[in-house]
Symmetry: C2
Subunit: 146 residues, 2 copies
Amino acid sequence: MENESVAKSLKLFIVLSRAYKAINEHVNKVIQANGLNPTEFAVLELLYHKGDQPMQQIGGKILLASGSITYVVDKLEQKGMLKRIACPNDRRVTYAQITDEGKSFIQEIFPEHARQIHDLMSSLSDTEKDEAIHLLKKLGLPAGKF
Amino acid sequence: MENESVAKSLKLFIVLSRAYKAINEHVNKVIQANGLNPTEFAVLELLYHKGDQPMQQIGGKILLASGSITYVVDKLEQKGMLKRIACPNDRRVTYAQITDEGKSFIQEIFPEHARQIHDLMSSLSDTEKDEAIHLLKKLGLPAGKF
DNA sequence: TAATATTATCTCAATTTCAAAATTATTATA
DNA sequence: TATAATAATTTTGAAATTGAGATAATATTA
């Protein structure tokens, strides 16, 4: 029956939302306890792990409007966590670059961050995690392109 | 190796976030195209499907701060989608109740909403959806209680 | 080359959210 | 019945996010 299949999709949407929100709520608390908000942390982590990024690409990866990027980068710059670097080739472009201070911040926070996520995921076995990763990739990748 | 297991948890966290955000972004667009923001829709849908709710319980179910509930309920009341009903037993509590106008709004929107979610989930077979539901429940329920 | 379109960033006003304090009502206790 | 503790909602002010232009640089094309 077609209706049952739609109901199943709705059910999946609900459990997906619940799982994400429940986990995220805890993760955000640890981040905020360290003086950053979740968006700031996401930007800083991106720069730490992926290197310098043009402002716009940050928006693409973190899913943030252009006005918000300026705001967040301002905040992080004020805190000394990153600096703006003018692009030598294209004067329209500004890179965001993590500072040494930003790096040591991430280095200090990240292990606790990772450990907490690991704890929150402990209800699944490693095999189940692999299954979940597989299914969520299969679900998320096409949805991003609609 | 313990580190690999932590890395797997981080990976799962990332694909979970991506999948949720990718799907949610699309869902929110349809809702906003119909003149409500996602929070307003969530409240209205809750009242439609679960009946009258005390203000505070709305916050618990939608994961919203108490101050925000007042704001959202104000908005929906202004739009004629719900009304406040004083509780006869306890004068501290106020129920939010969906109006006929709110009901027909949901009735009009919901099929499109459900159909869109179904489309966004179409990369998984029914069996895979069942597996994903199982795993996400197992993941989300304990995380909610930490 | 000049005109036009596109792109990247920023500014600004409006919206949404939260956190903390204030208000009002209920319940427990002495 | 006072009094204190608890609870539900609202108010207030600040922070975060968006979307719509504004500005400036680059790319395209006639």
